[in-house]
């Protein structure tokens, strides 16, 4: 990498950070409990809009994993998400009604909160429908992972999105509040992911899964990116680029081995495809606040009328992380 392009990336990073600082004015505090944060805490950052029904299980799941403080940005929810979160003892909540899209799909807000509260902590940035799975997560808390990463001088941890879906119609089984969404969306594609290296940022660009298979069989290049780096030992100089797909400085994107070995990695089980999905897609289409002119949602909307089934004969049913490891979707690396 030449000095010029490395300098360009530096400027780019600075620009994002300045943006994040400026966009802080869009956030107004609803409940600020960040003084409770202790030095060794693992923090969770999340932007959401109208996800009330998912929240109880989401919070439970991550509390059990060992997350000790949650920082939410509520983007103008109307279903009581904000009040619910504000009532939780371990949550800090900010509110904004400004454009999600113009905040670079929420990343400016996230970058600001990370900058302000994340420095020196292991920070997990996820969506309310994403559930983080890492090696040994059934027997070890997330601090075991972060301690090990610290000891190994690793600063970022990758977790690809794994789209989960139910068998049969997406809306056949209604989701109840507090329920584990994986009881309904229990299936996934195990081996149809394709990878390309992004030479500019050094990260991998991964596509595939049921969304490419069902929604984009003729235009696979439009399928959404699945690579994510949600767990980072945050420093003030860091900035997420687009969603949590990649960040700067680019060294943090090198979460893969290029000489045949496997680094440790996890997965984000993505439980978007529940009965709540159709409404959400409809709403997002009219708002037009999503990536690439909401091309994803358009493709869904075109198909959703035909009642598409994501499930196929070769779908795998989720059991545990060991299964995902054996299938080659994630890896223990040298953590044993």
């Amino acid at each position: 990498m030449s000095i010029v392009s490395s300098y360009r990336l530096r400027l780019q990073r600075r620009r994002w950070l300045i943006r994040a600082v400026r966009k802080r004015r869009e956030l107004s505090s609803v409940a600020n409990r960040t003084r409770q944060i202790r030095k060794s805490d693992v923090l969770l950052f999340c932007t959401l809009r109208n996800e009330r029904i998912r929240l109880p299980y989401f919070l439970d799941y991550y509390r059990q994993l060992g997350v000790t403080h949650f920082l939410f940005v509520d983007n103008d929810s109307s279903d009581g998400s904000r009040d619910y979160l504000a009532a939780q003892d371990d949550c800090s909540v900010w509110y904004t009604r400004r454009s999600y899209k113009r905040a670079r799909f929420g990343m400016d807000w996230m970058n600001w909160l990370l900058l302000r509260h994340g420095h020196g902590h292991w920070c997990l940035t996820v969506d309310p429908d994403e559930f983080f799975v890492f090696p040994f997560c059934d027997t070890r808390p997330i601090q075991a992972l972060t301690d090990w990463l610290d000891a190994s001088s690793i600063k970022s941890f990758s977790a690809m999105i794994l789209d989960m879906y139910p068998k049969g119609r997406i809306d056949a089984q209604p989701y109840r509040e507090g329920q584990n969404p994986l009881e309904i969306a229990a299936w996934f594609d195990s081996g149809n992911y394709v990878i390309e290296k992004n030479p500019r940022y050094g990260n991998l660009w991964i596509q595939g899964g049921p969304r490419q298979r069902v929604f984009f069989p003729d235009q696979p290049e439009l399928a959404p990116a699945l690579n994510k780096i949600p767990l980072v030992k945050w420093e003030r100089k860091n900035a997420y680029a687009s969603s949590t797909h990649m960040l700067l400085p680019r060294g943090l994107n090198l979460t893969y081995d290029e000489f045949g070995g496997e680094k440790a990695s996890g997965l984000l089980l993505h439980t978007k495809f529940l009965n709540t999905f159709a409404d959400k897609a409809k709403e997002e289409l009219t708002r037009g606040q999503h990536y690439c002119a909401s091309v994803e949602y358009k493709a869904y909307a075109d198909l959703i009328g035909d009642d598409p089934e994501l499930w196929c004969k070769w779908s795998e049913k989720y059991i545990n992380w060991r299964q995902l490891e054996i299938l080659g979707l994630m890896s223990k690396g040298n953590w044993a």
């Binding site: 808390p141 081996g191 696979p220 081995d257 045949g260 979707l329």
Partner: protein, 567 residues
């Protein structure tokens, strides 16, 4: 009071306190060295917490940075204090704050009492073991290391390079032979005091102060001078990863640790409550002993290192994306590619499936869709048959298919009518067995009912594509198992090559082939080729086919009949 514990502590003092209490409860005096980096307040609290036990002492504090002399200095002063304060101690056991005794302490005491003159210290000459990570082994002793590796990596590396370039070297004092080994040892009073009271100690200390990671070599080297009986192994179980950092033990290792034959394990995750609970009990509450099986621990950790360094061949994923030629196996399993066989034999695919029991696909790279076996829309791993998805990343399509079907050999057809996106990948892949009947693409043209002008253009196009493919197969980069026959050659005697291919596939029934696939009727094919030639398009890939049926045909048909024409 025959075993004294020297404990080096730098963090998680509450765990260290727990372990120190455990040692002293079993009658072992403990001397604790706390890193000078531990804040004064924390340290005072720690000392106070342990003040109720008078066989626990604290030694003068040194600053211990990894890889530097501080750790040795700390060990020295703590050991001196141990020998001075507890004259009954016969063995001194060096442990850390994150060590955990795996077996009742009394067992260790008995074990050492039965071996009063044995020093347990791993100690091997640098030239004989390739343990060290990062290329510094004998240079640990011959170069100087004044800079911190952790804080000033550039200076450290730069100074190493500089010394190498100008050939700076140090001599071992008094001609001692450098030895390396685990930092955690158990020495007898005799040996340890001989080291600490050596009149030459200043010389050695001065030398080792500039050695890289002296805690792995100081005692290991000097013990060789004085010990009457060295057993070169550590009583402490510690496993190292590929970067030389110790593996950490967690709650879920409980059953594994119970099967260790070592007395002490390191290092334990400070929050592994179950481990501390299970092992820090008195004998009455100790768990039932299980048969030691140290091999299992070994396997698990060496597998982890292997996974990190070599990975799973044929896997491409978010944390394993090898560069070209670093794949350590481009694909996960062997597979076979057939070019020209379905064109020449009308029932080749079912015949191959019968003869070998493999999974036989059609043309996976056909322009309209991937022709999976039984024309499935989706196959193992939810791999789609969409041509667009396949052509988007053809090589990933191939590697995914082979990865998803590990354990079942895959065969598929290929040809110049197909997309060529994965052609080079297949040619480079040692797992591929590629069999080509060159020129067989002309047969479907010959049997089709199309205008001759069309046929001619199509033939020219296909011949060009196939010849490019053959160039790839013949390139020096090709690593696949490749066989190429011209069609004329193959038709002459088809059974022999077929047998060859089937044998190589490792078919279940290793018998000779009894049944041949049905060859299409080639009567007039020679004339067809001649017609192409007459139009100025010279088909050459199929070899020489005689044009004149009158002179050659009868003889050849007779020859072929017993093998090929099945009624």
């Amino acid at each position: 009071m025959s075993v004294g514990i020297v404990m080096l502590v730098h963090a998680d003092l509450d765990r260290a306190e727990q372990v120190a209490r455990h040692w002293s409860a079993a009658g072992c005096p403990v001397v604790i060295h706390a890193d000078a980096n531990v804040p004064a307040r924390t340290f005072r609290k720690f000392v106070k917490a342990l003040s109720d036990i008078d066989t626990i002492q604290f030694s003068p504090r040194h600053r211990c940075e990894w890889g530097t002399w501080g750790i040795v200095a700390a060990t020295q002063s703590a050991s001196e204090q141990m020998l001075r304060s507890f004259p009954d101690v016969r063995h001194v056991y060096l442990a850390s704050g994150s060590c955990l005794p795996l077996r009742p302490v009394q067992e260790l005491i008995d074990y050492l009492a039965a071996r009063p003159r044995t020093d347990f210290i791993e100690s091997a000459t640098t030239s004989d073991v390739p343990w060290t990570v990062g290329g510094l082994d004998s240079e640990r002793f011959t170069l100087r290391f004044p800079f911190s590796w952790k804080k000033h990596r550039r200076l450290f590396d730069g100074y190493v390079r500089l010394q190498r370039r100008i050939g700076l070297k140090r001599k071992m004092p008094n001609g001692i032979v450098p030895h390396l080994g685990s930092q955690w040892w158990c020495l007898t009073r005799q040996t340890l005091s001989a080291i600490l009271q050596d009149p030459e100690r200043d010389t050695y200390d001065r030398f080792f102060k500039r050695v890289w990671i002296p805690d792995e070599s100081y005692f290991q080297t000097l013990a060789r001078l004085y010990s009457g009986h060295i057993e070169s192994r550590s009583l402490t179980l510690s496993k190292f990863d590929f970067q030389g950092k110790p593996h950490i033990f967690y709650d879920d290792h409980l059953q594994l640790l119970r099967r260790s034959d070592c007395f002490v394990a390191r290092k334990i995750w400070p929050r592994a409550d179950r481990l501390y609970e299970a092992f820090l009990t008195d004998e009455a509450h100790a768990m039932k002993r299980t048969e030691p099986n140290p091999g299992k621990i070994d396997r698990i950790f060496s597998k982890a290192v292997e996974r990190r360094t070599r990975g799973r061949p044929g896997l491409y994923m978010q944390s394993r994306f090898p560069r070209k030629n670093w794949e350590n196996g481009m694909t996960g399993a062997k597979y076979s590619v057939f070019q020209g066989f379905t064109e020449l034999f009308s029932d080749f695919e079912p015949w191959l499936a019968r003869a070998t029991g493999c999974k036989v696909h059609g043309h996976l790279f056909a322009p309209d869709r991937a022709q999976f076996s039984s024309d499935q829309k989706v196959i193992n791993g939810a791999l789609s048959n969409s041509a667009a998805i396949r052509d988007y990343r053809p090589q990933a399509f191939l590697t995914n298919l082979i990865w998803n079907t590990r354990g079942e050999r895959q065969c598929f057809q290929h040809g110049p009518v197909d997309r060529q996106g994965a052609a080079m990948a297949m040619a480079r892949d040692p797992n591929a067995q590629i069999s080509v009947i060159s020129g067989a693409w002309a047969v479907p043209l010959f049997t089709s009912n199309r205008d001759f002008a069309d046929l001619r253009t199509e033939a020219a196009r296909l011949q060009k594509i196939e010849s490019e493919f053959l160039d790839k197969l013949r390139s020096p980069l090709a690593k696949a198992r490749i066989r190429i026959w011209t069609m004329a050659e193959f038709v002459e005697n088809p059974m022999e090559p077929l047998q060859l291919i089937i044998d190589e596939l490792g078919a279940k029934n290793a018998r000779r082939l009894t049944e041949a696939p049905k060859m299409v009727n080639l009567q007039g094919f020679g004339q067809f080729l001649q017609n192409l030639k007459n139009q100025g398009m010279h088909p050459y890939l199929m070899g020489d086919f005689p044009t004149d049926p009158a002179t050659h045909r009868p003889g050849r048909t007779n020859q072929r009949k017993p093998y090929l024409v099945k009624k």
